[in-house]
């Protein structure tokens, strides 16, 4: 028995996940990001530096001095804590990545496991469209390098919302409007805006922008609607980020999405989510969080993202490009008693599981001894039998 929402990972899935992790680590390193590992327990007050509703239900315990500890619910906050504590005298920018599990209350209706592994990157100390673009292109690179083609990264911005709501001239209804926006309840937005007497034309374009993820056509409509300098700036910023990502060779990967809304409260600028066919929820999400490090007394900007490893794996399976686990292992009955020969196979590049002589027939590929002859049965159905030398030749070693 294990707690609800938790799971064990078995071979060959564990091998596939490891292969994905290794590939992702390679991509992060190729952009100059260094790996950090942080403890899975933090002081509760560290994680509570951000206001997040899910924290209330988080797993808590106490240390021997009675201080309240908490299982981390994501990695962005611990990395911010670490950067402010350990790197505040270093030149900027800083680039960190991690592959680590976090723990949140189990939410089956949101397809959220209790424990989930994320691979993520954080770029600290730069406030520019180019920095935003680096994170988005790194995310595209991570996904594309694993062979997934039909993915999309939706790119939006918190700044657009703030400016949009300001431009509508809502007063008492402002809070309600933001709440409906967070619930993605567009009919309710329509009602609120209607009651507040928002101009019909403005409304029409508003629905278009919210309903749709960004098509090129949608972008020109949003531009028309951008009635304030703040909205203009927000749109221009997004276009700049998208163009930079396309310049890096990730064409058609990014769509502008003005209906994108993130539940996490620490995001302050661009936000983005990656989607792939067959997986209903984002396989990755991220954004700019310029106020976060300030809460750890180092006021530098930051942007980053996290890939949900399980969902990425699911997307790769859907697309039929999941990496294979380690190559099949030869089960060598009697191999435990013949260490020299077993090692000969391993040095020749084969994985070998040594078994006792009387082991029941294992699945193929398998190697057995019968009298003076060895019999090798490979996974593809072919067989080699004969002397040890014949076996070595059959495996391409001698």
């Amino acid at each position: 028995m294990i707690p609800e929402g938790m799971r064990d990972v078995l071979p060959p899935e564990s091998g596939e996940l490891r292969a994905i992790e290794t590939a992702l680590c390679g991509r992060f390193a190729a952009y100059g990001y260094g790996e950090v590992r942080t403890p899975w327990l933090e002081y509760a007050e560290t994680l509570e530096a951000v206001e997040d509703d899910t924290l209330e239900a988080g797993y808590r315990l106490r240390d021997q001095q009675g201080r309240e500890l908490m299982a981390r619910t994501d990695m962005t906050v611990p990395v911010a804590r670490l950067a402010a504590a350990r790197f505040h005298d270093r030149p900027l920018p800083l680039r960190f990545f991690y592959v680590a599990p976090s723990i949140r209350p189990w939410a089956p209706q949101r397809s959220q496991d209790g424990e989930f592994v994320q691979a993520g990157a954080e770029l600290l100390g730069l406030r520019s469209a180019a920095a935003d673009a680096e994170c988005v292109m790194l995310l595209c690179d991570c996904i594309a390098s694993l062979g997934l083609r039909d993915y999309r990264v939706a790119l939006g911005t918190v700044a657009f919302y703030t400016a949009l709501v300001d431009s509508l001239g809502l007063r008492d209804d402002r809070e309600k409007f933001l709440e409906a926006l967070a619930d993605r309840d567009y009919p309710l937005l329509e009602t609120i805006a209607g009651n507040a007497g928002v101009d019909d034309d403005a409304l029409k374009v508003l629905w278009r922008t919210l309903e749709l993820s960004g098509t090129r056509d949608g972008l020109s409509q949003v531009r028309k609607m951008a009635s304030s300098a703040a909205m203009d700036d927000a749109v221009r910023h997004l276009v700049e980020v998208r163009d930079l990502v396309e310049d890096a060779g990730f064409e058609d990967a990014v769509t502008l999405d003005f209906g994108l809304y993130q539940d996490l409260t620490y995001y302050s600028g661009v936000i983005f989510e990656a989607y792939a066919p067959g997986v209903g929820l984002p396989i990755a999400s991220g954004g700019r969080y310029d106020g976060l490090l300030e809460r750890f007394e180092w006021a530098i900007p930051g942007v980053g993202f996290a890939i949900a490893l399980d969902r990425l794996h699911e997307a790769l399976e859907e697309a039929g490009v999941a990496p294979s686990a380690a190559p099949a292992c030869i089960a060598f009955a009697g191999g435990l008693d013949e260490p020299a020969r077993t090692m000969e196979l391993r040095r020749g590049g084969w994985a070998v599981a040594a078994l006792p002589d009387d082991a029941p027939a294992p699945p193929r590929p398998r190697l057995q001894r019968s009298g003076g002859t060895y019999i090798l049965e490979l996974a593809d159905g072919s067989e080699v039998s004969g002397s040890w030398r014949d076996i070595l030749r059959g495996l391409g070693i001698a």
Binding site: R152, L212, G278, G280
Partner: protein, 214 residues
């Protein structure tokens, strides 16, 4: 394109099928089909299933879009985008009790029978009242059975059937309207991000069809 239509046991509401046809979708294929069913017609795969199933399929990316009632959206709060009020199957979630003097038991903490435990709990908590929830599907009979002092249910469902007639009013008096409900067009987050122009067209045609009387 894969589209889901919520229908509980029976076939989809005729007015909804009309609206979908007006929007250019091959919906006549499912006019007389009772769920659960998967029906292929002119490039569209229709899923006919209970509303909660349609929402689950949207959340998990198995549908491009779905139509489900606002009552379920309120109760389940699934992570989907609610794009359009289709203005069909208009109804309301209400709190109803037996007529005064109908012999109802009065309890210090009233019992409320409902299929919507979250909506009910939230409604009474927000209005500062304490009630005991009774999870019960056949809500209209619950007060007559002495099981509950009131119900939270869709207004159109406050009816009973007996040997002579189906659809006899259950004799319940609506005390409060909790939320207006109707059929809504919803899309999952991935379908929205990956759908692009196809969804754009669908939403616009449905919006236009909605405005045209039949």
């Amino acid at each position: 394109m894969k589209l889901g239509l919520a229908c509980d046991g029976g076939s989809p509401p005729p007015r909804l099928v009309d609206l979908l046809e007006q929007a250019g979708l091959p919906a006549s294929a499912v006019r007389a089909v009772a769920g659960p069913a998967l029906v292929d017609a002119d490039g569209v795969t229709w899923l006919l299933a209970p509303g909660a199933d349609v929402l689950e399929a949207c959340v998990r990316g198995a549908l491009d879009a779905g139509v489900a009632g606002k009552d379920l959206l309120l109760e389940l709060a699934p992570p989907v985008h609610e794009l359009l009020d289709l203005r069909v199957s208009e109804d309301a979630l209400v709190f109803a009790t037996p007529q005064p003097g109908a012999g109802a038991v009065r309890r210090g903490r009233p019992r409320v029978a409902t299929r919507y435990p979250l909506v009910t709990r939230r409604h009474f908590a927000l209005t500062g009242r304490q009630v005991e929830l009774v999870a019960f599907d056949a809500t209209p009979v619950a007060p007559g059975l002495g099981l509950a002092d009131g119900v939270v249910e869709l207004r159109s469902r406050l009816v009973l059937s007996d040997a002579i007639s189906a659809g006899r009013p259950a004799g319940l008096l609506v005390r409060e309207e909790i939320a207006a409900c109707s059929a809504r067009l919803v899309v999952g987050r991935a379908a929205r991000a990956l759908g692009g122009e196809r969804l754009t067209g669908l939403v616009e045609r449905l919006r236009a069809a909605r405005a045209t009387p039949t």
